[in-house]
Subunit: 161 residues, 2 copies
Amino acid sequence: MNKAQWIPIIVLRIVAMAAAFVATLLMITSHDSAKVLGMTFQAKYNNSPTLKYFVIVSIITTIYSLATLFVPPKKSRRPILVLDLIVTCFLISSFSAAVGVGQLGKQGNSHAGWLPICGQVPKFCHHVSAALIAGFVAVILYVLLLLFSLNNVLDLVAFKA
Amino acid sequence: MNKAQWIPIIVLRIVAMAAAFVATLLMITSHDSAKVLGMTFQAKYNNSPTLKYFVIVSIITTIYSLATLFVPPKKSRRPILVLDLIVTCFLISSFSAAVGVGQLGKQGNSHAGWLPICGQVPKFCHHVSAALIAGFVAVILYVLLLLFSLNNVLDLVAFKA
């Protein structure tokens, strides 16, 4: 792998790590409370198993991205490519599940009788939305990273064939 | 690509196509109604944008899996690998979002004041659960397909290097 192939991958990893870290921070610090019918109602990420899953995957992605920066590029192409694929799968999964639940928080579902909660806890919703944007950036960067790595590998096949 | 590499991919594609097709059928036919406070309440997949997204991606996966069966394996390794990756991303995304919303349907979220609906519309919930199981099978098969294709490509690199 030459420098022209290697540097973009390093840059993508560093930015993806930053995005995953920001997503974690924003989701963990999302917090708001509202008074409904005299009762105080707390909105936190850990009230939802889906948002907890998002935080766990974001933390793992941050640590994984940091760790792979110290792996020599030539020696471990196969395990890194497979691990990149697995991390990307979990990132997409946690992001999509959180968006699905976030959409319900924002718009509710009248058929199911679920009211939107963003009117009551706007600070919480803004934080979660920002975390989802950072999560989306991490997803896009990991997909690009995979496509770039695949392209390098396939060029090698075409070159050596 | 020799036969030992090619046949498992064809088999994985056919089974993934069947799983995506079954997931589509089960989700589209999920339907139940309940009377709550004298009002009839209809539960259908298209009451939820997330479940609609699941159906659209399942249909696309079925058609894509069918189409790729007719593509000659040697000529188009690169576009097929990239398209496989993109389809897998969308499959994981739609499955995870649907599970996130399905979990709310089953267990609700007391903090958000969202009551579970599966007690009122059990037939709908069973259908959606079955569709999610079929969707999960399609996800696993596409991830295996990707890992298998990657392995073939990397073997080629190791062999030619």
